[in-house]
């Protein structure tokens, strides 16, 4: 069986999706990146082979903040930014979608679409308040499993007000309310509302949000966040079934549209190959660029990070 692969390497999770010829999802995996992008990509490929031992790869695409590195390890045919990937995936689930709210580990974005075309987008600019990592950290601090956070928020009767503009302000507000004796569920609900407020003011910034709205990314699993969005917008928000892996799904769809005869995919044995990366500081000019090399079985397969292009080289496709 031929499959198209999409791989999304984010700051927090690495997701792999395999599509069959009819663009149905036949395999998806969600792994924590945990600061080791190369190993996680290898692990995801090994998982895929265990699940679908007889498949062969027609084309592969990567996306996410680690898309360049992932493309070199995987041998990708196309590298796409995560905004386009998320928009493509959203349209495959809901063709008339007008707005995509996406909140991931380290960034959040809003995409506005009209007649199947992206017309506007924005990403959070300066502060990580309102992203998945911040929720994670707060759940940890309150001693709650992140999976229970949403359910807890829904149980709140009297949400407290928490400042949402800055992670530091939000945390100190939460501690203050907790020491005043407010209930954990009210604080958690207040936190969800603060994040939604921050998202709409900071990322959404006056953009016209029209129905149907899709909410995707890891944070979409949190019912508390979804209900806070619905309350703020005044209408239902759709969380697609594959919400956690939408970026990877988009990359797989983009790969499936390529008209390639032969994929650059390195093959399933890549999970057994030995990859190492090493960095050095270039001393040719005062910019002192940090150049990184990727080695497979001891030989350099890619190099990037320089400003002047002197060091760049790559085996995989360009963007």
């Amino acid at each position: 069986m031929k499959v198209n692969l999409g791989l999304d390497v984010g700051s927090v999770s690495t997701n792999l999706v395999a599509l069959d010829e009819n663009r149905n999802v036949i395999h998806s995996s969600y792994l924590l990146t945990a600061g080791r992008p190369v190993e996680v990509v290898q692990e995801a490929v090994a998982d895929l082979q265990r699940a679908l031992p007889s498949c062969s790869v027609q084309a592969a695409g990567t996306t996410g903040s680690g898309r360049e590195l992932a493309a070199q390890v995987l041998g990708a045919d196309v590298i796409k930014n995560e905004i386009t990937a998320h928009a493509v995936a959203a349209m495959s689930v809901q063709p008339d979608v007008r707005c995509v709210l996406e909140i991931g580990g380290q960034d959040s974005k809003i995409i506005i679409l009209q007649n199947g075309v992206v017309t506007d987008f924005a990403m959070n600019t300066v502060c990580a308040a309102g992203t998945g990592s911040f929720l994670d950290r707060q759940a940890q601090r309150l001693g709650i499993d992140i999976k229970d956070l949403g359910r807890l928020a829904l149980a709140s009767r009297n949400p407290v007000r928490i400042a949402g503009r800055c992670a530091v302000f939000a945390e100190s507000d939460m501690i203050h309310k907790q020491q005043m004796g407010c209930g954990v569920e009210d604080i958690v609900r207040g936190l969800c509302e603060a994040l939604v407020r921050n998202y709409l003011n900071n990322v959404g910034k006056g953009k016209a949000i029209r129905q149907p709205v899709l909410f995707q990314g890891g944070v979409a699993a949190n019912e508390g966040m979804r209900s806070a969005f619905e309350e703020a917008l005044g209408y239902p928000v759709i969380v697609p079934e594959q919400h956690k892996v939408m970026g990877a799904l988009g990359a797989a769809i983009i790969a499936s549209r390529l008209e390639t005869n032969e994929s650059r995919f390195r093959g399933f044995d890549l999970s057994e190959r030995r990859f190492e990366s090493r960095g050095f500081e270039c001393s040719r000019c005062p910019n002192a660029c940090e150049v990184v090399e990727l080695l497979m079985e001891g030989s350099v397969v890619a190099r990037w990070g320089g400003r002047c292009g002197r060091w760049e080289r790559s085996d995989a496709a360009g963007a």
Binding site: N81, T84, V118, F121, V126, P286, N287, G309
Partner: protein, 355 residues
């Protein structure tokens, strides 16, 4: 600041003074600037201060800095920098040149103090300087057009760098023109004559320093060019001179005047290049550019005003604008993601329009 140093060096040389050009902005410049500048100041002040310190290390004993007035903090930067240099025990002569349109008398008196009898050389210095400014802008505009069509990645940048060097070394108007001609001929060899169907046209507006300094903006023009976009830089050296230094008859007038074109979206001078950002976006929509990129240093008040006005221009005139707030970060991934997505967006709009 971009290629502006070429023009300033020509003028200063012609006036009979020695000009020390600081090394191009680098990680070292940022470290120096952020160490000594006020933390809340904008990125241009920090880089500019770093440049001054590096020039002083190279032997400069006097600093010429532009003054200014109006809502932008820039007007105050010369005074802040003078104070910082003196606190650091850098004993240099610090000359502030105020803008001629609002402070002609202050400008004249500082020029007299600085130049004395060499005042007579000003006309020739300005002639050569203006020619070099025209040449730098011409070479830049051509390289923007050619980059998406270059035969090898980096070919345009290499040609552009050597053309700027040739313009800098030229000492007469004729030599300057010869350098431009040589660039044009070389560039034709290394590029395809026609743009492909996927080529999009993007205008760049925003705060002048962030637009011109390719270190500060992480080489945004080159990145866009490699993504297949023809860049139209709206705020250039000659344009800045025309807007800020020239007296009335040579200023922008009529339909190409960015300040008048900003009406009715922004009718007041908000400092810096805020009104120009809005005006050039309107002009860009009229020339049928596919989209605009708006660059601002983080915390820049005039550009924040422009940024909040621009969505209305987008809605009325149908021109997408990507605002990017930049500071000393070097993580390029976020910038590249936004630029790629923006170019994808513009291409998709084009395809829909062609259907």
């Amino acid at each position: 600041m971009g290629d502006f140093w070429v023009v300033l060096r020509a003028v200063i040389d012609e006036l009979g003074m020695d000009c020390v050009v600081p090394p191009p902005s680098s990680a070292k410049t940022v470290s120096l600037g952020t160490r000594w500048a006020p933390e809340t100041a904008c990125y241009p002040l920090k880089l500019c201060l770093g440049n001054m310190l590096e020039a002083i290390d190279k032997g400069a004993d006097a600093v010429l800095m532009a003054g200014g007035s109006g809502p932008c903090r820039f007007g105050y930067y010369a005074q802040v920098e003078r104070q910082i240099l003196s606190d650091l025990n850098k004993h240099v002569h610090f000359h502030v040149l105020e803008p001629p349109q609002t402070h002609p008398r202050e400008l004249a008196s500082s020029l007299v103090a600085l130049l004395g009898r060499r005042m007579a050389r000003i006309p020739r210095a300005l002639t050569v300087g203006w020619e070099k400014a025209l040449a730098c802008d011409d070479v830049l505009a051509k390289s923007h057009l050619l980059r998406p069509r270059e035969d090898r990645p980096g070919a345009t940048t290499r040609l552009h760098t050597s053309a700027i060097r040739a313009i800098d070394e030229a000492s007469t108007v004729r030599e300057v023109r010869r350098a431009v001609k040589a660039f044009t001929e070389d560039a034709c060899v290394h590029t395809r004559p026609q743009g492909g169907p996927r080529e999009v046209h993007i205008g760049i507006v925003g705060e002048i320093f962030m637009i011109m300094d390719q270190f500060a903006n992480l080489g945004i023009e080159e990145k866009l060019g490699r993504l297949g976009a023809v860049v139209h830089r709206k705020i250039t050296i000659t344009d800045w001179i025309r807007t800020h230094l020239f007296p009335w008859p040579w200023k922008h007038t009529g339909s190409d005047d960015p300040r008048a074109s900003a009406h009715p979206y922004l009718n007041h001078f908000v400092g810096g290049d805020g009104i120009e950002s809005v005006g050039y976006t309107v002009l860009g929509a009229r020339e049928k550019l596919d989209g605009m990129v708006h660059l601002l240093p983080f915390t820049c008040m005039p550009e924040i005003v422009a940024k909040s006005v621009l969505p209305q221009v987008t809605e009325d005139m149908g021109i997408p604008v990507l605002s990017l707030s930049l500071d000393e970060h070097t993580g390029e991934a976020g910038l590249v993601t936004r630029l790629e997505a923006f170019v994808d967006l513009l291409r998709a709009r084009r395809e829909v329009a062609c259907r």
